[in-house]
Structures are given as C-alpha cells and as structure tokens.
C-alpha cells in the first residue's frame, strides 16, 4: 500500500518538475509545435489529469484496504442523518458537516472550511463515499462530493 502511494507521489513530483521545465525552456514558440498531433502543453495537462485521477483511485484503494473490502461499490443504505453524524468519529464528522453545509463541494472547498490539508480532506471524503454517506461526481478535472438526499427514496 505504501509503495503505491510513494509511486503516485513520485510521479506527481516528476510531472510538475517536467511541466515547469517545459514551460520555462520551450516558451510560447515551442508550445505551438505539435507532438503526435497535439500541443505539448495539452499533452502535459492530460498527463496531469490522469495522475490526479490515479491519485484519487489510490486514496479509494487505501480506504478499501482499511475496511478490508475489495469492491469500490459504496454501501447501498447509509443515509447521512444527524444520528449518523453524531456517531461518527470527530475527524469524519467535521468533513461530513462541511459537505452538508456546502451541499456539493470539492476537496479543496472542504479544506478551506475545515482548515485542514486538501489531501487529508480528499482521504476523508473518499472514506465517507465508501461508507455510503456521500456520492462523487467528476466534472472535468474536479471531483465533487455531495449527499444524495433525493435518490434515497
């Protein structure tokens, strides 16, 4: 598990160094050149998106391992009502409450509310998703977490 995490983080570091170097050295003129039919910056952006998704999948896998589960399907019946909130550990309740207040939010937005690191919030949000309390929806590069109040009829 730790090897996976190190792998993802090293990849991220490598990528951002690469992105910075490309932007600095190549400049705008070079950026217009096409590599395999695409502009270099677009390729790099694509790589970054993929790395971010990979990172999120790793966080989910870590949470699944913690719960001794192999499937990514969240629990079907886990309404996030006040009694559930009360019975949660403090660190998760703080995250869940922030989602309740915001309605729909990214890990970044939650981190701003809770004054904790984005990576920490991302891990807690994924944990709440696996527990079946939150749903996740991806729009472009951003992953939004929300309480699905309406579909749980």
């Amino acid at each position: 598990m730790n090897n996976y995490v190190c792998f993802v983080r090293l990849n991220k570091c490598f990528f951002f160094t690469l992105l910075y170097t490309c932007k600095t050295i190549w400049g705008n003129k070079v950026a217009h050149r096409e590599v395999l039919g695409k502009k270099p910056l677009q390729v790099l952006e694509r790589i970054r998106e993929n790395l971010e998704r990979l990172n999120e999948k790793m966080e989910v896998m870590i949470e699944l391992q913690k719960h001794g589960r192999k499937d990514v399907q969240p629990l079907p019946e886990a309404p996030l009502d006040v009694m559930t909130l009360l019975s949660m550990p403090d660190h998760l309740r703080k995250t869940a409450m922030a989602v309740c207040r915001l309605g729909r939010a990214t890990a970044d937005e939650i981190a701003q509310q809770t004054h904790r690191a984005r990576a920490v919030e991302s891990a807690y949000l994924n944990q709440l998703m696996i527990m079946g309390h939150l749903k996740k929806e991806r729009k472009g590069r951003k992953a939004y977490f929300y309480v699905d109040r309406e579909s749980q009829e």
């Binding site: 996030l80 006040v82 009694m83 559930t84 309740r93 703080k94 309605g103």
Partner: protein, 259 residues
C-alpha cells in the same frame, strides 16, 4: 457583528419556556427593525399556532419538510395592523393529531432529507428573501427534528431552569451534542427564583450558572407571575413594553444583534 443569524432555541426538558422566549425574542428583534422569520420546529407539540391564534395555514412546515411545497407557501405575514420597524413572518407546525403521528413515524432517510431542506433555508430566506434572523423553536431533548434544527443553526440558545434533572441533562447535551457539532451555544436561565432587587442575588446566580455549564450566559429571566398570568395569550413584549421581562429580552436581543 451578530452572534448568529439562524438561532435555535433548545432545551433538555420540556416546559422551560422555549416557545415563549422564541416568540418574544422574535418580536423584540422586529421592534429593533429586523426582519425575522420564526419557525415552529416542535412537531411533537406544536404551539405557535395556538399562541398566535392561527387555525389554518395554506401550508405547514410539515409540508415543506415533506417536499410537497416551497417555503414561501408556509410563511404567514404577521405585520398587518402592527406598527413595527421590522417584519415578522412565521412558519407553523401542523397541530393536527394525524400530522403529529405522521411526523413521529418518519424514518432516517426522511430525516436526512428534512435536514437538507432546513439547511437550504439559509439561502432561500436569509440570502434571497433578505431576512435578518431565522428563529427555530424546537422540541426538547434529543429528537430528530430538534437535532436537525441544532445542526442547521449558527447559534443555539439553551433554555434551562434550576431543576436538577434539567441541569444534569443540559450539561450532558452541552458536552455530547452541541460540542460534537461545534455549535456556538449561549445559556438562558429561565424562571429563576431569586430576589431581583439586590444586585448580589443576580451575581450569585450568574456565577453559579457559569460554573455549572462552563458556557457563556446570555441572560437570566426571573420567574414573573405577570408572564404566567398572560397564559400565552399575547406576545408579552408587545403588550407590556415597560415590564422587566421586556427589558431583559431587549438586553438579550442586544447581545445577539451587536451593533
């Protein structure tokens, strides 16, 4: 800087005076020029409709939480014939026995959706309708509807008395409910029995309350026979502007709505 725009009045035990304080606090804030929306979230024992002598409403708060109407349909304008600087609207809980039975049988999923609808009131009433304050009158104790109200509020006013079981229950709720939700809480001691003439009597009660609850004290309201005699038939602060009860409510409103 206000203490909170959404205020829930809550208590451990029933009969502490939450409803009386809710309506009189709302009226006091209205006198100060604020637009206030008072919502009866005590679905087990609705009483605002009786105090305000409103027998029928277009829609009840029960309907709003059921998702069958919007909040606009629930709110009743109480400003006709009253000269106030601000405006007072109320949303009532349905007092019919069938409605009380129906809401008592709701499951966790319904309560979760009800919480969602309460949380959206911040946008629909404070932001869109420009209310200055929302006041929630709640059921006592740890009931779904009251915890939903506590979670949705910015400030919880805990109404307590010197009754021993109420004191112990309130202490537990401070630790095991409000603290867990990181809620701002203020204590109001109601129906206090002490000699109000010498200042030392009040000081002693203040020290005792602060020591007991380790929480900020918003106000002490002595047990007034005049208030009891009114039997919940009037909005006391409007009827008796010179009464000490009215003055204490004014002080409380002043602390909430700090200039």
């Amino acid at each position: 800087m206000v203490l909170g725009k959404i205020i829930a009045l809550h208590s451990y035990k029933g009969g502490t005076g939450k409803t009386l304080l809710s309506i009189n606090l709302a009226a006091t804030l209205v006198k100060r020029g604020k637009n206030v929306c008072l919502l009866d979230l005590d679905f087990r024992a609705p009483s605002l409709s009786t105090i305000l002598k409103i027998e029928k409403a277009e829609s009840w708060l029960n309907d709003y939480l059921n998702g069958t109407c919007e909040i606009d349909k629930v709110l009743i304008d109480l400003n006709s014939g009253i000269q106030n600087k601000g405006k007072l609207f109320v949303g009532l809980a349905n007092p019919a026995t069938e409605a009380i039975r129906d809401i008592s049988a709701k499951d966790r999923k319904w309560e979760m959706r009800a919480l969602g609808r309460l949380l959206t009131l911040r946008n629909s009433l404070l932001n869109d309708k420009s209310f200055d304050f929302l006041i929630f009158d709640t059921s006592p104790g740890l009931q779904y509807s009251s915890i939903n109200a506590v979670v949705s509020a910015d400030l919880v006013i805990v109404v307590t008395t010197f009754d021993r079981s109420d004191v112990e229950g309130t202490k537990r709720m401070l630790r095991e409910l409000y603290d867990l939700f990181e809620k701002k809480t203020e204590i109001v001691l109601n129906k206090a029995l002490y000699d109000i003439s010498p200042k030392s009597g009040k000081d002693e009660v203040q020290t005792r309350i602060k020591g007991t609850y380790q929480a900020p004290l918003l106000g002490i309201i002595p047990c007034f026979c005049d208030v009891s005699k009114a039997e919940g038939n009037t909005i006391f602060v409007q009827e008796r502007p010179e009464h000490l009860f009215t003055k204490i409510l004014d002080e409380i409103a002043n602390k909430i709505d700090k200039p």
